[in-house]
């Protein structure tokens, strides 16, 4: 049946319902990756967001269990120009329609997503409601107004693991990493495991002592929402700074920056896609990277606290990575684990993080 995407500023887009019949509210964002809708749907960083895919067709390759980045669908809805009822891929186990329906997540098909993207680009990410169950406009508006938005909400805590677990435990680990889970993507853990590491995963609100226990390094994961809304995590990390090497990706990178005393800010409409060029200032090489973040660390604040910017996003010159040599902290704003996206930066997870951890320990 007919559906609608209603934005906070009054602009609306109509389309056809897909997936679950529901009305859900979230922050509208767009992703420009041309493959990997299933990875996007299962990425915890999309918590409480409605994702518009700019690639015209989604659903083409169905869904399978291997390509999931977590066990549940995180966004509140998915918007596309054209959902495909039929799929074709030798690994597919089912279709996207059913996948969304089973999760209670609505999809909106037939949307002028290009107009939507241009709108978000000009006006910034904003609240939106996706509705495919025919709810009257008044109720949708009410939904919009009642939703608190992303700012100030500790979403990372909500998506974190409830208890500690061991992801990989080789007999003779090459190194030991404790992962602080704020919505960690599976592929990060997979890649750590590939390095021969022992990987243990900790709930978001674990204490500094718990985190530091029997580890060569603490890794702070990616995750949803505003880093400034996580004072407890920041405090815990602050007390770890200098104690052992700290590594971070995305939200983790932002939290580490905050714990060093640097500042974050919200980007107008974020970076979400699989084609962002990032320059490694040490090697001069450019990596095409997978990105998914709405917040960013300011360069001046990093420099002020003695950190060095190591990676720059070439599209808008924002900070894409930093190192604090003395305090042994390293943050990467984008997603070396890809999934979806290019593997150009996987070496960070496969080599550089371990080296950073190992080197500091050995020195």
């Amino acid at each position: 049946m007919g559906g609608i995407l209603l934005l906070e500023d009054g602009r609306s887009f109509s389309g056809q319902g897909f997936g679950a019949s529901a009305s859900l509210v979230g922050e509208i964002v767009f992703n420009t990756a041309m493959t990997g809708y299933q990875e996007v749907l299962t990425d915890p960083s999309y918590r409480e967001q409605i994702v518009a895919m700019t690639v015209p067709h989604v659903g083409n390759t169905g869904v399978n269990a291997v390509d999931e980045e977590s066990t549940v669908i995180h966004p509140r809805g998915m918007v596309a120009r054209s959902f495909s009822k039929r799929w074709s891929n030798h690994r597919a186990k089912g279709g996207l329609d059913h996948y969304l329906r089973a999760a209670g997540i609505p999809g909106l098909d037939g949307v002028d997503t290009r107009a939507l993207v241009r709108h978000i680009r000009q006006k910034g990410a904003m609240k939106a409601v996706i509705s495919t169950d025919g709810k009257p406009a008044a109720e949708l508006l009410e939904l919009l107004e009642s939703w608190p938005g992303m700012a100030g909400r500790a979403l990372a805590v909500a998506v974190s693991t409830p208890k500690v677990y061991t992801y990989a435990d080789p007999e003779i680990p090459t190194w030991k990493v404790n992962v602080l889970d704020g919505g960690c993507k599976r592929n990060i853990l997979r890649l750590f495991a590939q390095t021969g590491a022992r990987v243990r995963v900790f709930p978001a609100l674990s204490t500094a002592d718990e985190l530091a226990q029997d580890a060569d390094a603490v890794f702070v994961s990616n995750g949803p929402g505003d880093p400034a809304a996580l004072p407890e995590m920041k405090a815990n990390l602050q007390s770890l700074v200098g104690e052992l090497p700290l590594l971070g990706i995305c939200l983790g990178h932002q939290l580490l920056a905050l714990s060093l005393g640097a500042q974050t800010y919200k980007l107008a409409f974020g970076h979400r896609g699989a084609n962002h060029p990032v320059k490694d200032l040490d090697t001069g090489k450019v990596e095409v990277t997978s990105q998914n973040h709405g917040f960013c660390v300011t360069q001046e604040s990093l420099e002020k606290v003695g950190a060095r910017v190591t990676h720059v996003n070439l599209n808008d010159k924002t900070v894409a990575g930093f190192v604090h040599e003395e305090k042994r902290v390293m943050g990467i704003q984008y997603h070396p684990e890809a999934a979806p996206g290019p593997h150009d930066a996987q070496h960070l997870l496969l080599e550089r993080f371990a080296r950073f951890a190992g080197h500091s320990k050995g020195a």
């Binding site: 420009t32 493959t35 891929n89 290009r114 107009a115 084609n275 095409v288 599209n315």
Partner: protein, 1057 residues
């Protein structure tokens, strides 16, 4: 790293004449490269034998040589211009091969010239199958398993590796003769044993069959800092087994998950690094088994390719331009993305639309050749459709084919299954027809090997058709219409379904406000603002076309390239656009051909990548409200719309009609008192017979309203006439035939003229080397004429002037005439840009198309400088034919055009110019050896002079009985050889044994005798040039004389005064 300062001048090698597999996409890439290098401050030198290109315009490079692409001529250019480097990666396989040959001959080393873009080692590994395969194994990737064997035992052993079915390919057989797919061991033994017999080196390749696997391509770029990016992924709708140039392709790839796509991306990075392409673009092809995802690397092109051109147009990322910039040392992150202006080129384009490319074939011109598509490319052009969905892009691509798409409505179910199973141009229409008849997608998928995702989307299209078919337009709801338009269904098709005409559908859509909007191709899915209005239509909410600072002029392009309508028209359209810009107006280009310069985003102020149909052009006019539309530069495609769109700039549509309508045209010639060959219009076979009897043989028959002399025949007798009648009627759209006296022995002239309504300027008079009867597009022509008397020249000018003024031509007019004895006949008048416009512009130095455009915009000839250059020089245009691609078709020239491209030879004598033209066209002009002569009786009187000259030049002469007798009688010593079937050794044996280096054979009538054909084919296979007219024979003698005298010197276009 900043750009290299140690090199100052760079030689760019073009791709030469348009041939199948190497078309105008290399004009696009070469032009981009030249422009980019000049912007960086380099002195750019260019060599290309193709005059119909934008790149050979004197303003594109600092020094331009329209010379043959051979080692000798390039060395001459190197000696004269002393370049520091050669860029060989933007001129197709021709440039790459030439660069390798230069390297091998030691010329690069001798003159201290460096290859940039790709090193010889990288080119070798990329191109050599065995070396490539070994390289792939080294980096852990798999090519199709294959082994070359020379006996049965080894062949059977090879099966252990490949399994059955296996593909057997005999080495060095023409067109893969003797090869095949073996499904069982008996079949395998049969094919291998036959193949070993047929192979001249007793060798066959036994290869794993990956027929039916899915085919993908990735376009890859790398810079000197080893940054590697993927520009585009392309998925072939046709599975493995059909050449990618003959496949329908889709971008971006639609049936890969991220895991699989990233695997291909990783492989591509490894491959480009291993092959060692230092900088620039490469194209890598993969096959994927749809059952289990197994991947095979098929091949890599270490250069800018046809697919790169498609990828550039599909993404907006200018691959050739950036490849040139990388070749001189710039890094990707040091180059700006032109479209966003704020982001660097070191990213990967993302698409929020889908493109579909469909090839365009010309099989109808090669009646004897098979239509089956395989591993050798046969298409002559392509169209690209852009839509927001695959469905819309596919339907727009089909619209762009201008009805060249066909249907399968008339076939039986059994025939349809064959059409699905065997790849031919009929397959796509057969897929739709099968769906309409209710065949399920699984079965269609099984027969075609097409992925079910694509088939599913096509089923959706057929489902919409089914809901509409047979209803009245008035009964269809707005929502239904809107849905059909959103899917991309053209008005014309809706009219067919709803039993009304296209105009009624269009009127209803307009009345209800169902109008397209225009979206931008911007490399970034709207994430950043775009500054280039590169647009396509779709039925959505928001329009991004944007306003223009000045009045708009729309230029309609020529659509897909085909024989008779190719690059020459794109050249003219580009110049029209440049002239419109120059005049301070906004130029708006409409075209659907991804291979062209006209569809480059910076050629015009605005680019609409759209089908050239009344519907799509109408919508653009509605949006742009232009001063006018220019349709006289795009060939027949835009002219067909003359009455349906407007306002048309220049010559009135009625004048165009007047020339196309035979009766009106005859009256006009009568009125002007200008003679035409005696002729008649026939609407029935009886009328045709009557006309032929009245006129008397030989006659020329043809359908009215066709392109490139389709189904045009010279009939010498009743038998010829009977068979010609059948074919001509079949090809005629309105059952109207034209029967004319054939002017035997006449000399033909092609005249291009400019007219502003008051004055006429003769831009160029070209004289055909062959006698009348050979299609003008297939003729060799010389400018200035060498046989034309002053009085006849004046009469030609007088006729053309009176015709142009009477037709009130504003712009260009092309008149074809023939002089028989002392009588001049007008054969044809085309009040539009002709195929020869770029040639005339190059030969005279007058920018004919630009001037014509200024006339359309209201300027006057009297205000222009029209002084031609090049006095004392001869310019020859020679055609290039695709015979090798169509084994079985005869190589005789006739009134039906079959050449795909042309070259130009420039010389201080006719012989020099002709020799260069022939060499540029790929002919191995002999300087010694044997010449075989066999001519018809009518031609015999001319033969002794030619034969005598050849003997004088040191050739040994051979002739068949009749010719032998005549020559002996004339006192020319000649050796007798047997015809085919007269006994052995016959002439074919002599050709095969290398005793004959040149064949002069004028054929009997239209249907050549079988043995003559066998001889010409043997000549083709062994690279022995075949001359089929006496006029050309005379010219060849002059050319050989020049060649032997060592007179062939390169001439720089910029130094011609």
């Amino acid at each position: 790293m900043p750009q290299r300062k140690d090199i100052q001048s760079i030689l760019v090698i073009g791709s030469g004449p348009i041939v199948i597999g190497q078309a105008c996409e290399f004009d696009y890439s070469g032009t981009q490269a030249c422009k980019a290098l000049r912007e960086l401050g380099y002195r750019v030198l260019l060599i290309n034998s193709n005059p119909a290109t934008i790149m050979t315009d004197p303003s594109v490079a600092d020094a331009t040589y329209i010379e043959p692409l051979t080692v000798e001529f390039v060395e001459q250019v190197i000696v004269r211009e002393k370049p520091d480097a050669i860029l060989p990666t933007v001129g197709g396989q021709t440039a790459l091969n030439l660069a390798m040959a230069l390297d091998k001959a030691g010329i690069l080393e001798k003159h201290g010239v460096e290859l940039i873009g790709a090193k010889p080692e990288a080119i070798f590994v990329g191109e050599d199958r065995a070396a490539f395969k070994a390289a792939m194994e080294e980096i852990g990737l798999v090519c199709p398993r294959a082994r070359t064997v020379s006996n049965m035992a080894d062949a059977e052993a090879a099966l252990e590796e490949t399994g059955l079915p296996a593909i057997v390919r005999p080495s060095f057989t023409m067109g893969g003769a003797g090869g095949g797919v073996a499904y069982n061991i008996d079949e395998f033994r049969d094919i291998v044993s036959n193949g070993l017999d047929l192979s001249p080196v007793t060798e066959v390749l036994v290869e794993e069959s990956i027929i039916g696997w899915k085919e993908f391509e990735l376009e890859v770029m790398r810079d000197m800092a080893d940054n590697v990016i993927i520009i585009c992924s392309i998925e072939n709708l046709d599975p493995m087994g059909v050449h990618t140039g003959d496949s329908i392709t889709v971008a971006p790839a639609q049936t890969l998950t991220d895991v699989e796509y990233q695997t291909l991306r990783d492989y591509s990075q490894r491959i480009i690094r291993r092959i060692g392409v230092e900088t620039g673009g490469s194209n890598i092809q993969y096959a994927i088994n749809p059952m289990d995802g197994a991947i095979r690397v098929i091949e890599m092109n270490p250069r800018v390719s046809r697919s790169s051109a498609l990828a550039s147009k599909a993404t907006g990322f200018p691959i050739a331009k950036i490849a040139a910039q990388l070749a001189v040392g710039l890094h990707l992150d040091e180059i700006d993305n032109d479209i966003t202006r704020q982001t660097p080129a070191s990213f990967e384009p993302v698409l929020d639309y889908v493109i579909v490319k469909i090839p365009r074939w010309n099989f109808e011109k090669f009646a004897q050749a098979t239509r089956v598509l395989g591993t050798s490319m046969k298409s002559v052009g392509e169209v690209m459709g852009i839509g927001r969905t695959f469905d819309e892009a596919l339907l727009k691509a089909i619209s762009s084919l201008e009805g060249g798409y066909g249907t399968s409505q008339d076939c039986t179910d059994q025939q349809m299954r064959e059409r699905l199973a065997i790849a031919t141009p009929d397959r796509l229409p057969a897929v739709f027809e099968a769906m309409r008849r209710g065949m399920d997608a699984t079965e269609i998928g099984r027969l075609t090997g097409m992925d079910r995702w694509f088939l599913g989307r096509m089923m959706d299209i057929v489902a919409v058709e089914n809901t509409l078919r047979g209803r009245f337009l008035s009964g269809v709801s707005t929502e239904e219409l809107h849905a059909a338009k959103r899917m991309g269904m053209p008005d014309e098709h809706l009219g067919m379904l709803l039993a009304c005409d296209e105009a009624s559908v269009n009127a209803r859509l307009r009345a209800e406000g169902i109008r397209p909007v225009f979206k931008r191709v911007d490399t970034c899915a709207a994430e950043f603002e775009s500054h280039t209005p590169y647009l396509y239509s779709t039925f959505e909410e928001e329009c991004e076309s944007g306003d223009s600072p000045s009045d708009r002029v729309i230029i309609l392009g020529n659509g897909p390239n085909r024989i008779g309508q190719g690059l020459e028209f794109d050249y003219a359209c580009c110049h029209a656009s440049f002239a419109v810009r120059e005049a301070g107006l906004t130029s708006v280009m409409v075209n659907c051909n991804p291979e062209t310069v006209s569809t480059d985003y910076d050629t015009s102020d605005k680019l609409y990548f759209e089908p050239i149909t009344a519907e799509h052009v109408g919508a653009i006019i509605e949006k742009e409200k232009p001063l006018g539309v220019i349709l006289q530069f795009g060939g027949q495609t835009p002219l067909k719309l003359a009455h349906r769109i407007g306002p048309v700039l220049g010559t009135s549509p009625d004048a165009i009609d007047l020339c196309e309508d035979r009766e009106r045209f005859n009256n006009l010639m009568l009125e002007l008192d200008i003679p035409q060959p005696e002729g008649a219009i026939a609407r029935t076979p009886a009328e045709a017979q009557l006309a032929a009897t009245r006129i008397g043989f030989p006659v020329l028959t043809r359908p009215s309203y066709v392109l490139g002399g389709r189904a045009m025949f010279i009939c010498f007798d009743q038998k010829d006439f009977d068979s010609a009648l059948v074919e001509a009627l079949a090809a005629s759209e309105n059952n109207t035939l034209l029967i004319d006296r054939y002017l035997q022995g006449a000399v033909e002239y092609d005249v291009d003229a400019l007219c502003d309504g008051t004055d006429v300027h003769i831009a160029g008079i070209m004289e055909h080397v062959e006698a009348a009867g050979v299609h003008s597009g297939d003729s060799t022509a010389v400018l200035p004429p060498v046989q034309l008397s002053e009085i006849n020249r004046r009469r030609i000018i007088d006729y053309v002037t009176r015709i142009a003024l009477r037709l009130e031509v504003v712009g260009l007019v092309n008149v074809q005439m023939a002089i028989q004895g002392e009588k001049i006949f007008v054969i044809e008048v085309n009040p539009r840009a002709s195929r020869t416009v770029p040639f005339v512009a190059k030969a005279t130095g007058i920018p004919v198309a630009a001037i014509a455009t200024r006339l359309l915009l209201g300027e006057k000839l009297s205000d222009m400088d029209l002084e031609p250059r090049g006095a004392g020089l001869y310019f020859i245009k020679a055609p290039v034919f695709p015979w090798g691609r169509f084994p079985g078709s005869d190589v005789v020239l006739g009134p039906e055009m079959r050449s795909t491209g042309e070259v130009m030879g420039i010389g201080w004598s006719f012989g020099e110019a002709y020799a260069k033209a022939l060499i540029a066209a790929g002919m191995t002009l002999p300087v010694e050896g044997g010449v075989f002569l066999s001519v018809i009786d009518d031609d015999k009187p001319l033969l002794p002079a030619i034969a005598g000259s050849l003997r004088h030049l040191g050739f040994k002469l051979y002739a068949t009985a009749g010719t032998h007798a005549y020559l002996t009688k004339s006192g020319v010593p000649v050796e007798l050889v047997l015809k085919v079937r007269e006994g052995r050794p016959d002439v074919v044996d002599h050709i095969k044994n290398g005793k004959i280096q040149l064949i002069i054979n004028t054929p009997l009538g239209k249907k050549s005798v079988m043995d003559e054909q066998a001889m010409r084919l043997a000549g083709l296979r062994h690279g022995v040039p075949t001359i089929t007219t006496m006029e050309a024979a005379k010219a060849v003698v002059a050319a050989i004389r020049s060649l032997k005298a060592g007179e062939l010197r390169v001439i720089k276009l910029q130094e011609i005064v």
